[in-house]
Amino acid sequence: MKQAAKNIKARVKEVKKLKSDVFLLRFTSSYISSNSYPGQFLHLKIKPVLLRRPLSIHRVQGKDVFILFRVRGKGTEALSRLKPGAALDIIGPLGKGFYVPRPASNVQHILIAGGLGVAPLVFLAKKLTETKDPKPKNQNLILLGAKTKKEVLCEKEFKDLGCKVYVATEDGSRGHKSTVVALLKGILRHTTCDLRYTIYACGPKEMFYEIHKIIKKYPGINCQVSFEQFMGCGLGVCHGCVIETKKGYKKVCKDGPVFNLRDIF
């Protein structure tokens, strides 16, 4: 089960540029690779910023850990410039990630990524594939949303895992000229009663709200979403990263980052 977070010193193996502002960082840590599960995050100390930065675990492969990130400020900018061999100071794995249910033949998983929200979902898709019913009737569905073709991420990774991938772009330059929320609506409309859906989502808060509006009509659907918030300690002691839920303020770092969507709206 879940192991305690540790302060890990590691070295950068590679920082790969995937898009103009999206990077993939790879490092080796047997502790993190063997003790983390999808949806958890790592808290990285990055010069020149003061506080650590929370970044979700993108994927684990053997002893290697991957972090997918977009350059958004000074911290991620510095992270994108790290060279192989550079020292990393990491606290992790942290937070409550996605709950992965026992395999069942009548369950279909739908993973919804808005933009860079795809980051923790590759790890999740891998876990769901591993824990799948040996005779799968239903492929895991991936809904990838992006502004344009250029911003579509990880399509190949999901396909390699045997998932069925639907892409929606705002300008229609790739896949459907639509949104992932509209795609979800379409899928659920054609639902059959012998199938139970489980939704996992990561992306902007507005997307969660739209998903919430849809699943209100389907009370049987379980929906887990991963939230973001400015963070202080990442360890649950500063109460800095709360979000509002139906049960009051909850800490994204400790009670989340993954929450049941029905507890939020």
């Binding site: 977070a5 540790k6 003061l50 963070m231 202080g232 002691v237 500063c238 109460h239 303020y249």
Partner: protein, 301 residues
């Protein structure tokens, strides 16, 4: 080498204290922190009743400091005593309880209640939270500071530490009033008021508009105030504000602090005390000082 210091009746194995709000309410940091290298930990400020805290976002980083507007979120005194105190009592160092009231009566109730708890040796009166809506922060008024402490002093024999705000015209006056009212020690600084504006939206970054500013940016300001206060009062001063390294800590001790307080650095490195303690020891050895108390207030000015 002697590192022990005394704050009222509380004996600390070394002068490192972890500040309230940065180290949890019980033993949350077990596994990451090294309690054996800490003189005392201060639990997150406890309120009498459960308190929801302020509207998020509550944290904003400036690059050299952090503005927070947590707003004393907590489970309330009785829940703290039932759930957190037993575990806090077991950590391998001394602890201080910080309390914050929304009225003098709340302070009185809490002090009376905590006086009955044997495990509790020291109470820090948070008279300086920048994030609660009240007319005035208690420690912004000499009179309010004096009267509050005087009343609470009459209710308990436990060590009382007054945590006061740097946001005053003359912090010395407030410290003198706290001392005259019977406080056993002064702790300062709490955070400075701070604001960050999102120029794209025209709105503040923090949900509660403004907050308390801490971190390396405030160190010189905090150091100046600790120096001023420690020259004005005879009781021990717990000094802090932006301390990250042993050198920072030593500056505060030379300026007059009996103990030093680690705050924001705990967010970045929960085991910061290990490095700081080692650095202090190395310094004393090099300078051939065998008692840390000899260094206190030795500023050559």
């Amino acid at each position: 080498m002697e590192l022990k210091v005394k704050i009222g009746k509380l004996k600390l194995r070394n002068p490192i204290i972890c500040a309230s709000g940065t180290f949890g309410s019980s033993d949350e940091l077990k596994g990451l922190a090294d309690y054996a290298s800490i003189g005392a930990v201060t639990a997150k400020t406890i309120t009498l009743n459960p308190c929801p805290g302020n509207c998020p976002p509550r944290i904003y980083e400036t690059g050299c400091g952090v503005i927070n507007s947590v707003g004393l979120e907590g489970k309330g005194l009785e829940n703290f005593i039932a759930e957190d105190l037993p575990r806090l009592s077991k950590v391998k160092t001394e602890f201080i309880l910080s309390i914050g009231g929304f009225s003098i009566n709340e302070y009185k109730t809490m002090v009376k209640r905590l006086s009955q708890e044997k495990a509790v040796e020291a109470i820090e009166l948070n008279l300086s939270c920048p994030n609660i809506k009240r007319k005035k922060i208690i420690s912004q008024s000499r009179k309010d500071t004096y009267e509050t402490i005087k009343i609470l002093r009459g209710l308990t024999k436990k060590t009382l530490i007054a945590k006061i705000t740097p946001e005053v015209t003359d912090i010395k006056e407030i410290a003198v009033a706290a001392c005259a009212a019977g406080a056993d020690a002064i702790s300062t600084v709490n955070t400075f008021f701070g604001l960050a504006v999102n120029i794209q939206t025209g709105a503040p970054y923090l949900g509660n508009c403004y907050g308390g500013y801490s971190g390396r940016a405030i160190k010189p300001m905090a150091l100046y105030r600790v120096w001023k206060v420690s020259r004005a009062v005879k009781i021990p001063v717990i000094g802090g504000g932006g301390i990250e390294t042993a050198d920072d800590a030593l500056e505060f001790i030379i300026a007059g602090a009996t103990a030093i307080s680690l705050g924001t650095v705990n967010f970045i490195d929960p085991a910061a005390s290990v490095k700081i303690l080692r650095g202090i020891k190395n310094y004393l050895k090099k300078k051939k000082i065998n008692n840390i108390n000899q260094l206190r207030g030795s500023l050559d000015a």
